[in-house]
Symmetry: C2
Subunit: 429 residues, 2 copies
């Protein structure tokens, strides 16, 4: 007999069916026992005649197969239930669960949740976070494929870091020293120049950051795109606006069930996202909030304040900050005058979720900018050499998948948006 998913039972009323899943809850009365069965699509109440069998000693979360008949009924879960005719244990749990995943709210600390990650994911709210994350990723790919982008897979073991700084994991690659990539930056630019023009990648990136904050991971998923034949970084921001609208629309439409479980409403982007020069942001922070301690990039407080301003004064929970100072942006960033750049960040509810901009496309300018940043062009030979053979005017961006998930679902810690966390201290599970 073929297994029927719990979510499909409503079209099998008065039929004999087979269902399989985990024992979510057991309640034994005098004559009958109620068993709540859980599969990936939902919960169903099953009724066992105690004369048929006594299952009250079976541990919760055991995996079982039930044959029975679907009958109309009034219960808290569904307008039907299953009268059990045969009850088979497929794999019995051999231990009580350390966390109560069958409660409405899983009231445990973050540490307990992460230490019991696999079991905590069985809770419908925790589980839903990654169903929404799925829709975000799929929306990202779907939109870009439709816009003529080619998906790329680029190496994560690299000879040279792209973002500079010391926050990079080192490893031994046979006889050589190598690193785990900080971003696919060099490769996605090279693939624009390889003739694909428009490329994207969704993949792991690595940051050996020592600090352990609520918004940093040492291994995370970066959703990157890069495109050639642009006029300026404005084109990249325009695409990101359309992309975000597509993603939010998809999450709202296909993720309704999960959004309800998480009690989340998807924000609307009316027309365009406000764009504001970084220098103007500094001015507003000083004038409106008396905040004057910023040097080159916003601190977490500055990000929160400018998002508060955007929401209250500009009516948008998103804001593009543009023209970041040249001294704070990586060497591949297109300069704009002496001290600014053709770059942007996208902030959403107080946190940066995207960094992007126009890149340098001329060989000589690139070499000079590498020197300007105090770096040695020789070390970047494999990257820069491509610029000798016709590189289009181009730009792109990276969206942190866990960041956007966290902000969209109003999670307090980025670890909640990472299926399996790698942070300063966490290397397991």
């Amino acid at each position: 007999m073929k297994r029927i998913m719990v979510g499909e039972l409503s079209s099998h009323i008065n039929e004999k069916i087979k269902i399989q899943g985990w024992i979510h809850r057991i309640r034994k009365l005098k004559a009958i026992t109620f068993v709540i069965l859980r599969d990936r699509t939902g919960l169903i109440q099953c009724v066992i005649d105690n004369k048929l069998m006594d299952i009250s000693s079976i541990k919760l979360e055991s995996v079982v197969s039930i044959l029975g008949e679907v009958k109309e009924s009034n219960n808290a879960l569904n307008p039907f239930e299953v009268l059990v005719e045969n009850f088979e244990i497929l794999n019995e749990a051999i231990e009580e669960l350390p966390i109560e995943i069958n409660k409405e709210e899983l009231e445990i600390s973050l540490d307990t949740m992460l230490n019991n990650r696999i079991l905590s994911l069985r809770h419908k709210q925790i589980n839903s976070i990654f169903k929404i994350q799925n829709l975000i990723v799929q929306g990202f790919r779907e939109f870009l494929i439709n816009e003529g982008f080619t998906e790329i897979f680029t190496p994560k073991i690299v000879a040279e870091g792209a973002e500079g700084g010391t926050e990079i994991f080192e490893m031994k690659y046979f006889e050589n020293k190598a690193y785990l990539t900080q971003s696919p930056q060099f490769y996605k630019q090279m693939m624009v120049g390889a003739g694909y023009e428009r490329v994207f990648e969704v993949a792991h990136v690595y940051r050996a950051e020592q600090h352990n904050t609520n918004r940093h991971l040492n291994e995370y998923i970066s959703m990157d795109f890069e495109m050639g034949f642009i006029e300026s970084e404005e084109d990249i921001m325009n695409i990101e606006e359309s992309l975000l609208k597509h993603i939010l629309g998809k999450v709202e439409k296909e993720g309704q069930k999960y959004l309800e479980l998480l009690n989340i409403t998807i924000p609307k982007i009316e027309n365009t996202i406000p764009r504001m020069k970084f220098s103007e942001v500094l001015e507003i922070l000083r004038r409106e909030y008396n905040k004057v301690d910023i040097d080159g990039d916003l601190d977490p407080e500055g990000e929160k304040l400018i998002c508060k301003y955007a929401k209250e004064k500009l009516g948008c929970e998103f804001i593009f900050l543009t023209h970041y100072p040249r001294k704070k942006r990586p060497m591949y960033t297109m300069p704009c005058g002496e001290s600014e750049t053709h770059s942007f960040d996208l902030l959403f509810r107080g946190i940066e979720i995207t960094t992007g901009g126009q890149r340098i496309h001329e060989y000589d300018m690139l070499i000079n900018n590498i020197k300007y940043k105090g770096l040695n062009p020789e070390k970047y030979h494999n990257y820069t050499s491509v610029f000798r053979y016709g590189m289009p005017v181009h730009g792109g961006l990276a969206i942190g998948l866990e960041r956007i998930t966290m902000q969209l679902l109003k999670l307090e810690n980025i670890r909640e948006a990472s299926l399996i966390t790698r942070d300063r201290t966490r290397l397991t599970p």
Copy 2:
């Protein structure tokens, strides 16, 4: 003026248009100069009046923007051409290309191709390989999403390798020793047990193999899935059959243009792929080809011979080999009797492209099998502990993306199917 792609010019006859791309070829005659422009969608002949300008000194592969009028014409590329009115150089190439990418066939050695990887990708045949690879990946995801699978992103920095053996890259993770994952095996199984039941992942995996063959990479893309509530490994093979039919159908339908460039016909899978026990394979190799030197797993010659047999005698270019010996399969493999396992490989045109099977779901059996393989269960605590709390009967498989691309496109070396190669000696570009 908005840029028009070369592929769309046929619907702009007699119109003024703007096109942008690379200079593919230049041929100067007495009164006019022919310029072939290349963008990501194709090639177009452009005609410049020499009185307007002399572009013959511009290097090939320079990036340009052309304003002009589309006119009907008889030329080798299209039934139309562009009469140039304005010609702007966006970024001039500053060096002659080291390889002739504008020739019909790129007649260079593999090493030269990989050393000039970005430039070689500009050749339409090389470029097409990864357009087909895109369709394979997208077909994989599309099919599984439709079958209720959840996409997962699991860590590549791990505390313990999944496949055993010494072929694993080691790294320092702050104070701890860590490894780059050999496969997402443990995590995908855990995610089945986390309640998702059906999961897939397309991501990098790492093998520190010392040998440098034409079919091994040290970093490659693994397309994995894992599913619960199966009866046996037969269910996994059934899904793979349908999955492959979907992928091949998608490649054939959407990849026609690229398949023609590569001169490839997509193989048909009529009904089912033959399934043959490993013990029977040994018997056939002995009987038909006098090959008797096999111990536990096929060598490359054995794989070629059994595929030859499958094609000639069973009429299929694919063959499932099942029931591999227990001593040769990893510790998580479900045993079948004393010496066999519920496992399979899928071979295609002489090479293994998939490994899969049913996994152990009972805790005690798993611990005993870890010991049977001479390993220490303590080291796998994070993995095995999940099996104490109700793990469904489950199984899954992994398809090597570069392997299936290589075999489908009849490439001679797997490096041709890897966008940027990481092998025993190659850490750049």
